[in-house]
């Protein structure tokens, strides 16, 4: 385990009024990890993502990305540092096409100015064309190339989830956060997704942190898992350990797993 630490949460905490949604959570993710974040509904998993991506600022504690403190930065600044996410309650740009959604993900790579775009000058034209080509490549990876021109709102659910991943990938992140990427998918789709996620890690060299409720999916895919309950971290370790941890079984997995 000599790989460098990418993400490091130090006592990350956030209160909403009296509710402590995330309470002194500590974990760190190394480069190339496929890391799972699990826990019952309302445990604070999505809120953790919101803390990491700057939607909320921790009330206590710190978050470091590659050694630099990122809490307090605006979401777009954090995206520029190399963290991108998908949303549990799908947030695509509904009236844009599938391809256009991914092109927006390439926004951080824009170099030409506004004037060039307004006058439709060659730099803007070429950049747009290049971003579309890159977007198309990502759509191939996520098996969405055939629906590139469909309005994203009209996609079936499973494809919308994949498009969320394609769009996030387009920002060129080092760390990819996936919030329940398999929710609402059928077993076949889930299997394909697991393969794609692994491919993204192996071939694109991304570090991945994912939230998921489907235990089979998480246990097969992730190499390390953190378990949250009521905002507190109750266990951490490889899947085999988590599966047999009595605290986890009591809080979340139940007897049957």
């Amino acid at each position: 385990m000599s790989k460098p630490v990418v993400l490091d949460l130090k006592d990350a905490t956030i209160r909403f009024g009296g509710l402590i949604a995330v309470n002194k959570v500590n974990f760190n993710i190394h480069e190339g990890d496929l890391f799972g974040l699990i826990g019952p509904n309302g445990a604070g998993k999505t809120t953790c993502f919101n803390l990491i991506t700057g939607v909320y600022t921790p009330t206590e504690g710190d978050i470091f990305f590659k050694g630099n403190r990122i809490n307090g930065l605006a979401p777009n600044k954090i995206a520029a540092r190399g963290i991108c996410r998908t949303f549990q309650n799908i947030r695509l740009f509904g009236s844009l096409s599938v391809l256009e959604n991914v092109v927006v993900g390439g926004f951080l790579r824009h170099r030409t100015g506004l004037l060039s775009a307004l006058a439709y000058l060659p730099p803007a034209i070429h950049e747009t064309a290049a971003l579309r080509v890159q977007a198309m490549e990502l759509l191939e990876v996520l098996d969405l190339a055939d629906v590139a021109d469909v309005r994203s709102r009209d996609l079936p659910y499973g494809k919308q989830r994949r498009l969320e991943i394609a769009r996030a990938m387009a920002t060129g992140p080092e760390l990819l956060l996936l919030d329940e990427p398999a929710a609402g998918m059928n077993p076949n789709e889930k299997e394909d997704l697991a393969e794609t996620v692994r491919l993204i890690r192996d071939n694109f060299g991304k570090t991945i942190l994912l939230i998921e409720h489907d235990m089979k999916f998480v246990m097969n895919l992730c190499e390390k898992i953190v378990v949250l309950d009521h905002g507190e971290e109750i266990a951490q370790g490889p899947p085999a350990e988590i599966r047999n941890n009595p605290k986890v079984i009591e809080a979340y997995l139940g007897e049957a797993v």
Partner: protein, 398 residues
């Protein structure tokens, strides 16, 4: 990029603008010419507001304020310096447009930055307030004419330039949407949280759109000042803002051509009404009743009928024809009632009623605006045609 086509279309645009000017000056009297010029200004205003409200999804309701800023700055400077300067009048007018645009830019930035950083509809309230502040400031500034007109502005009437500005505004909007950078504006409209998660600086995009839209309104203001030669604070009242907003909403928020077409139609509507003979109370009452009924029927068909598109369109047309017949019969019946028959209303008086009524009807039947976010083009027409004709296979009940 295809330079020959590009240069060709620029030349064509200029030729069209001169064509409009030529036709207007040879065929119309001066008040008719004025309407052609004002229509062009309204196209600029509607299309520039569409950049803010339609494309970027903000809600500015005080667009006339920036029109006002441009007009007063340009009018004031021209009044003082036009005589002493060496430029050709047309060139001077272009300089004044740039000045008006720059002033409106600054105003847009000052108004937009604080309000666009906040969430929610602060922008609406702030832009509305800004319009009132500008009006009061002008009314209390002697140098700007106070409550009276700022007049004796040198007359430089170039209809072609008015329409060229309109075309440039349309072209700029369209260019923006064709580039990757412009997609970020649409993304902000669709979902701010997701946009910022993708690295888009949401505030920057919103302020950019706002400042850009304001700039075009300012340039339009400069043209207005030199066309009218006399401007009043009430020239830019809330009514004007409301009309521009109606144009954008009716045309379909986000549709550039929709905004432009709605601008021309809504601009000429009152002029057309003014030229119409007064209508009787009977006819008006019959029309209102029938319109309400027809709208209700159309809504039912829209939401509850699931046949083929062709049949649906048939039903729409049927209900409208039925409505026209019903209106004639009802009007004749009402005409028997003396109080109804005697009352009469001029088109001019009904202007605002018709505006508001149109807005309500469009909101009920097509909340996304007539063109929604589509652009008017031959492909759109072909698609619609295909939809009506060839829908049989696709639209059959499953």
């Amino acid at each position: 990029m295809n330079w020959p086509i590009r240069i060709g279309s620029i030349v064509l645009a200029i030729v069209v603008c001169f064509g409009i000017q030529y036709l207007a000056t040879t065929m119309l009297k001066s008040d008719g010419q004025r309407l052609v010029a004002l229509a062009g200004l309204y196209v600029t205003l509607a299309v520039s507001l569409n950049m803010i409200n339609g494309i970027t999804g903000q809600f500015s309701i005080g667009h006339a304020a920036f029109y006002c800023v441009g007009a007063y700055i340009a009018g004031f400077v021209s009044l003082r310096f036009f005589q002493a300067q060496p430029l050709q009048p047309v060139l001077w007018l272009v300089v004044m447009m740039v000045l008006g645009a720059a002033a409106a830019c600054v105003a847009g930035f000052v108004v937009g930055l604080p309000s666009l950083r906040l969430r929610g509809d602060y922008l609406a309230i702030v832009t509305l307030g800004f319009g009132e502040i500008i009006r009061i400031v002008i009314q209390n500034t002697k140098e700007l004419g106070g409550a009276y007109a700022l007049d004796k502005i040198p007359a430089i009437r170039e209809i072609w330039l008015v329409w060229l500005l309109a075309i440039v505004t349309i072209a700029v909007s369209r260019n923006l949407l064709k580039t990757a950078r412009g997609l970020a504006f649409l993304a902000v409209r669709e979902d701010e949280v997701a946009s910022s998660a993708m690295g888009v600086n949401v505030t920057q995009i919103k302020v950019t759109a706002f400042v850009l839209g304001s700039a075009f309104a300012g340039a339009a203001g400069a043209l207005l000042a030199h066309y009218e030669t006399s401007i009043l604070p009430t020239t830019f009242s809330m009514d004007v803002s409301f009309i521009i907003l109606t144009m954008v909403v009716l045309g379909g928020s986000g549709s550039i051509t929709g905004s432009a077409l709605a601008a021309v139609s809504l601009f000429y509507l009152p002029e057309y009404l003014r030229s119409q003979p007064p209508v009787s109370g009977a006819s008006l009452a019959a029309a209102v009743i029938v319109i309400v009924a027809v709208v209700a029927v159309l809504r039912r068909i829209q939401h509850h009928y699931h046949g083929t598109v062709a049949k649906k369109v048939g039903l729409y047309i049927g209900s409208i024809v039925g409505g026209v017949v019903a209106k004639l019969i009802l009007g004749a019946l009402f005409g028997l009632i003396p109080a109804f028959a005697k009352a009469s209303y001029t088109g001019d008086k009904l202007r605002m009623v018709i505006f508001a009524g149109t807005l309500i009807i469009v909101m009920l039947l097509r909340p996304q605006g007539i063109f929604a976010h589509h652009e008017f083009s031959w492909t759109l027409i072909r698609r619609l045609y295909d939809k009506v004709r060839g829908k049989g296979a696709q639209g059959a009940p499953a």
